[in-house]
């Protein structure tokens, strides 16, 4: 500041200061380490102790991995080859690979079917998960449930075809009547779909060998495939049901509101494992004696109910976080309830709810292993049952459970990473 300015109170700036870069600081790995690892005698000590522990764990575990045996046919043979050395017996994984993935009863010449279904799953998920994927792939997504059902369970193609035609017919009926009112349209759609399903059921029932794959009953499904089936089906069903429950809970119609509240509170108050026992044993009493409802279907219903109650609560949190002004703005523009919900409210509420929904989805996927308790042979069921109980592999704990941990971790970590990416994609409130 010049002298003239210092002497008088009045001050007029005649030049604006240009923007300057922040002070250049020393960068690089050395600086990072000094700041983060060795910033004081205590932190230096902690760093050294941590390094020592990491060193101990790695050197302790490494021989176990390095000496791993991949080709033996039993635990006894493994031990023989190792001759007293530390070493893993990974050969249980190679030898029982198919059992771990598909269970022990799925016909081995049909493994290509679940594998194809899995590959198609990735294709079908792409347009849903990535907005940039070609939109034409949505056709695959729409057809996927029916194709996957046919591939995994087999039987005539007519059955899923009838189901597909029923859904399509219901949609057409809904569109035709929708202009009268949403409820009328939904009712018409439901009736049309039911009529097609019942009529088509006779056709597909009488032509069981048309375009048929070898049928595989539900009790023959197993391994990680069963976890994937339950996880995928239940997550994709529980999200829309959860949305409906959350909206129902906010409804101004008391009966709908109370049905939703009671459902959510009841399901949340019960452990999943009891629901699974109900599915396994008790549910049979509620159906007519000759109605043989598939066990996998019963389990899917229970897990879906369980997850949708949780998702409903997560979404309710998202709805509550929206300012009232958003509802008012939508109303003042003349949008009706369905439009406001679909275009304004839900996109924002779901965005807020992503972390919570992913939390439930990951939890649900891991909870699918609980079906091993009701004697279904999912990945955990296979390890606990047929594999560990066999004379060859009795006692191979670390390798098998480590493998199960790895499979679940890969899936759950991917889901988590995807959700973080999605949150960044949807963030519109920054510069």
């Amino acid at each position: 500041m010049s002298d003239t300015h210092a002497e008088s109170v009045a001050y007029v700036r005649d030049t604006m200061l240009p923007q300057q870069p922040p002070p250049a600081s020393e960068a690089g790995a050395v600086k990072w380490m000094r700041e983060n690892l060795f910033s004081g005698w205590f932190n230096t000590l902690l760093t050294l102790v941590s390094l020592y522990f990491i060193y101990q764990i790695v050197t302790g575990a490494w021989p176990w991995f390095a000496n791993g045996i991949w080709t033996a046919s039993s635990l006894a043979e493994c031990r023989e080859i190792l001759g007293g050395q530390t070493g893993a017996c990974f050969s249980v994984l190679t030898e029982r690979w198919n059992q771990l993935l598909f269970g022990f009863q799925y016909p081995s010449d049909q493994y290509w079917r679940p594998v194809t279904a899995f590959v198609l799953l990735i294709v079908a998920l792409a347009p849903v998960l990535y907005p940039k994927a070609p939109r034409q792939l949505l056709v695959v997504t729409a057809l996927y449930p029916f194709v996957a059902f046919w591939l995994i369970w087999g039987g005539t193609l007519l059955a899923p075809l009838v189901a597909l035609i029923g859904v399509a017919g219901g949609y057409v009926a809904f569109k035709l009547v929708e202009h009268q009112s949403f409820a009328m349209g939904a009712f018409a759609g439901l009736v049309a779909a039911l009529v097609i399903w019942v009529l088509g059921g006779f056709v597909s029932g009488s032509a069981e060998n048309v375009l048929a794959l070898q049928p595989v009953p539900s009790r023959d499904l197993g391994g990680f495939m069963l976890n994937m089936i339950l996880g995928t089906v239940c997550v994709s069903l529980s999200l829309p049901i959860g949305i409906l429950l959350a909206l129902g809970r906010q409804s101004s119609m008391p009966i709908i509101k109370w049905i939703c509240v009671i459902f959510i509170e009841f399901i949340r108050g019960v452990p999943l494992i009891t629901l699974l026992f109900v599915a396994n044993v008790v549910l049979a009493y509620f159906f007519p004696p000759d109605a043989n409802i598939d066990l996998v279907l019963r389990v899917i219903i229970m897990i879906t109910m369980f997850a949708s109650a949780y998702i409903a609560e997560v979404i309710r949190g998202g709805l509550a976080a929206l300012p009232r002004g958003q509802y008012e703005a939508a109303d003042s523009l003349g949008l009706d309830y369905a439009q406001a919900t679909r275009l304004i409210i839900m996109p924002q509420a779901l965005k807020i709810s992503i972390p919570g929904i992913v939390n439930v989805a990951v939890g649900l996927f891991k909870d699918t292993t609980l079906v091993s308790v009701i004697s279904m042979f999912d990945l955990v069921g296979m390890i606990r049952g047929p594999i560990l109980a066999s004379t060859e592999w009795n006692g191979v704990y670390w390798e098998l459970w480590g493998f199960a941990v790895l499979l679940f971790f890969i899936v759950c970590f991917s889901i988590s990473k995807y959700s973080q990416w999605l949150e960044r994609q949807l963030a519109t409130d920054h510069r």
């Binding site: 300012p323 002004g325 958003q326 008012e328 703005a329 939508a330 109303d331 003042s332 523009l333 003349g334 949008l335 009706d336 439009q339 275009l343 304004i344 996109p347 924002q348 965005k351 949807l426 519109t428 409130d429 920054h430 510069r431």
Partner: protein, 255 residues
């Protein structure tokens, strides 16, 4: 600025409110409101906070429900019939104090959403209309940004454009400048003045008395849920009659 017309522009009635009452629980918010708004008329509603100004104009597009009396908008009686409510809402535009833009949609999408879904206008046409009004509020270059990237004044102008895209016959303004920095108030008021010059029927709750003097045909002063005084702006500001009005004006214009 052109001298505003001091007489209602036409004899055609746009909004007819008769003996309207509203309660929040046991609290009597609006008492015996009678108000006739003519087409092309511009009304400024003033009054202390809690006097029911906002509630009054929110009743006109049924954001709030009234319990007694009648409101007729453009010949449609406002009842609990959802069809009537939606019809009125699509004819009446509203601008809020806190803008209430949709943060997950771009500026352009904010403006085209209602025309596409409510009016069933083809997307391309809706976008042309939207660009027309965004140019009118002087921010066409922001069309592809998100509301969070705009300043408060810009957001409020987008909110005005969004309402105009529905081609409303009546516009309601609920304290449109109260949440803005002083520097941004002017740009919003200029937009509103321009709108007034186009002959829009406007009901405006605001504390901007300069704006009231400049564009209003009529100023309404409310207190404790009642219309206390209404008059042409000149007479209202220079020669208030009611004691409550005098006190209010002395406080708001005193410094």
């Amino acid at each position: 600025m052109a001298q505003p017309a001091q007489k209602p522009v036409s004899g055609e009635v746009a909004i007819q409110i008769e003996n309207m009452n509203k309660w929040y629980g046991a609290f009597h918010v609006l008492r015996d409101i009678d108000l006739t708004v003519y087409r092309g008329e511009r009304i400024v509603i003033a009054g202390p906070s809690g006097s029911g100004k906002s509630t009054l104009i929110r009743c006109i597009n049924a954001l709030e429900e009234h319990q007694k009396g009648s409101i007729t908008v453009d010949g449609t009686l406002l009842s609990s019939d959802v069809k009537n409510i939606d019809k009125i809402r699509s004819e009446v535009g509203m601008v809020f104090q806190h803008f209430n833009l949709f943060p997950h949609l771009t500026i352009l999408e904010n403006c085209t959403l209602a025309p596409i879904w409510v009016r069933k206008i083809p997307k391309r046409e809706a976008e042309e209309t939207a660009m027309h009004f965004l140019e009118k509020v002087k921010i066409p270059e922001q069309a592809d940004k998100y509301p969070g990237q705009l300043s408060g004044g810009q957001q409020q102008r987008v909110a005005i454009a969004r309402s105009l895209c529905m081609r409303p016959r009546i516009m309601l303004f609920d304290e449109p400048t109260s949440a803005l920095d002083p520097e941004m108030i002017k740009e919003v008021l200029d937009t509103m003045v321009e709108l007034a010059e186009d002959g829009m029927t406007m009901l405006c709750v605001t504390h901007e008395m300069g704006f009231a003097r400049q564009v209003a045909h009529r100023v309404i002063f409310m207190d404790a849920g009642q219309i206390v005084e209404q008059n042409e702006p000149e007479a209202f500001f220079n020669n208030p009659q009611n004691d409550r009005t005098k006190l209010f004006l002395s406080q708001i214009l005193g410094h």
